[in-house]
């Protein structure tokens, strides 16, 4: 994600789940309806997240970052773009574009560690670190390739 400028960035992580913006009865939506996008969303399936006009109701604009105790850190130098982490991430938090793994969406990652488990590289391209560890320090601690145990 380091290099990816999310166009919808100003909408990212603006909400804490749990209702920080409560409105009165006159302002709630009719019929408890939630619209996913602002404006025309025809063919949304062919638009990447950064090209979409997400509405404030879309959980894309919310964050669950506070759920994490530990965070996965991505090491692009080891990654082979197998996309295992992308297909099995339960929180739509692996950012892949054009068959390349670019990074982790830390607004949506809950730190489940599935991506680390399914990463096949040696050493792994994803490892868990303490939440407050910065990227540089984490990358500097990356383990060496392990020899196969016979």
């Amino acid at each position: 994600m380091q290099d990816l400028k999310l166009k919808a960035a100003e909408k990212r992580g603006i909400h804490q789940l749990g209702g920080d913006e409560l409105v009165g009865w006159d302002e709630v939506t009719q019929g408890i309806i939630l619209t996913s996008f602002d404006g025309d969303a025809t063919d949304i399936v062919h638009k990447k997240a950064e090209e979409r006009n997400y509405s404030d109701f879309n959980s894309y604009t919310a964050t669950v970052a506070s759920w994490r105790v530990k965070k996965p850190v991505f090491n692009i130098d080891v990654c082979i773009d197998c996309q295992n982490c992308w297909v099995w991430c339960p929180d739509t938090s692996i950012i892949s574009r054009d068959k390349q793994m670019l990074g982790i969406d830390y607004d949506h990652c809950k730190g489940c560690e599935v991506c680390v488990e399914v990463c096949p590289t040696n050493p792994k391209s994803l490892l868990m670190f303490n939440e407050q560890e910065d990227l540089e320090t984490a990358l500097s601690q990356w383990p060496e390739k392990k020899k196969k145990e016979k």
Binding site: V23, W25, I33, T35, A41, T42
Partner: protein
């Protein structure tokens, strides 16, 4: 394009057939239904219209009434016109989904042919099912005969689908007494009827993929109350729109409906307040008693929800003794209808005498002579200046007198 259905200016239809013709003329897109006596013919007829090309819609025969209303909710959220029918146990099984439909503001039309709730099992009419829907957030309109079942079903689409209303609507008629009794009915031409209702204009259409919508979100204590309040307001605010639709219908047909109907009420001293066919039977009794010098009048509630609290009060405040007739087993309380009428009258300076009659359960006949007797009991109350009977009494019941509570007098 649908086949032409030949209609005469004057038809002899029973209430079920009348309602089903209204569904045909409204060109209902989807009916999801499960049959139950006595409403079965309404959906059977819709199925027959589909099978014979008189209507271009989808008839989805599901496996239960709960599924019927569930299918209606899905269909209505998908943006078209939706209707179904039910009665009694079927209504009870639907109850969960009735609340979902109104909460999601889906303008489904449900023709309810009123029938008693078991146990004991009974296929005949009383208003137990109608009462079961009274807090469900639906508009509830009551027809007293077959013509009204037809007229009001047409009106129901126009009311519910109005974008300022967007609520589901029930049109009630009495099981067997209306649903299975053929009477003269004067239908509109198909063109006129459809022109009156108009096309449905979807709101939050699930099949409009330029605007994906989420239906049926969860709310906890921080949001639920606000949504329910908004829904209640929509129901209360539907009152003038219902009036407008009734006015428009009068212009078209000359038949005028009111949220509360009063008969001989200008100078009435003794009054019966009722729902359904009883309103008409009571009118016969009132007219006969008028010839004997008793100033009798009848009030019928046309729109049970939203309850016309102020209109009921205005119409009744100058009466002297009022009998409110509940055709539903009261379940350990005064009749629910009695409670609502009494509450309205409590806000008047006159506070007329008011008593509660439980009658006609399970289709027990309600006769003109019974209505007369009730009027005359009110007359006795007027003459005595106080309630001379139990405040709640069962009328038309075999066995010893059954009644409860007397007025406190100093």
């Amino acid at each position: 394009m649908a086949e032409k259905f030949d209609l005469n200016e004057r038809e002899v239809w029973d209430g079920n057939y009348a309602a089903s013709q209204a569904l045909r003329q409204a060109r209902v897109d989807v009916v999801a239904a499960y049959p139950i006596t006595p409403s079965t013919p309404i959906v059977e007829n819709y199925g027959a219209y589909v099978a014979n090309g008189y209507i271009d819609g989808e008839f989805v025969m599901v496996e239960s009434e709960h599924a019927a209303m569930s299918g209606c909710v899905g269909a209505s959220a998908a943006g078209g016109r939706v209707a179904t029918a039910t009665s009694s146990q079927g209504f009870a099984l639907m109850a969960e989904v009735l609340y979902q439909a109104s909460g999601m503001r889906l303008p489904i039309v449900l023709t309810v042919v009123n029938r008693a709730l078991a146990s004991p099992l009974n296929v005949r009419g009383d208003h137990g099912d109608m009462y079961l829907g009274r807090d469900s957030g639906w508009i509830q309109i009551d027809a007293f005969n077959a013509q009204e079942a037809y007229d009001l079903t047409l009106c129901a689409f126009k009311i519910g689908e109005n974008h300022d209303v967007r609520l589901p609507v029930m049109v009630h008629q009495d099981g067997f007494i209306t649903s299975h009794t053929a009477q003269n009915v004067y239908p509109l031409s198909d063109e006129k009827a459809y022109e009156f209702i108009g096309d449905i204009v979807p709101v939050d259409d699930m099949l409009d993929f330029s605007r994906p919508v989420t239906y049926g979100a969860q709310t906890e204590e921080d949001w639920h109350f606000e949504h329910k309040a908004k829904q209640h307001k929509a129901l209360m605010d539907s009152r003038p729109i219902i009036d407008e639709v009734f006015e428009e219908f009068e212009k078209l047909t000359g038949r005028k409906y009111n949220r509360v109907e009063g008969y001989d009420m200008d100078d009435a001293e003794v009054v019966i307040v009722a729902l359904g066919t009883t309103v008409e039977t009571a009118r016969v009794a009132a007219q006969e008693l008028r010839e004997e010098g008793v100033k009798a009048g009848v009030v019928g509630i046309r729109v049970f929800r939203p309850f016309p609290f102020d209109q009921v009060r205005d119409m009744l405040e100058n009466a002297k003794s009022i009998a409110v007739l509940d055709r539903s087993s009261p379940g350990g309380a005064m009749g629910a209808f009695f409670n609502e009428v009494s509450a309205a009258l409590y806000t008047t300076p006159n506070r007329p005498l008011i008593t509660n009659y439980i009658y006609g359960l399970g289709g027990r006949d309600f006769s003109v002579s019974e209505a007369k007797r009730i009027f005359l009991e009110q007359k006795t109350n007027v003459d005595a200046g106080h309630i001379t009977t139990d405040i709640q009494q069962f009328s038309g019941l075999r066995g010893p007198h059954l009644g409860y509570f007397q007025t406190k007098r100093s």
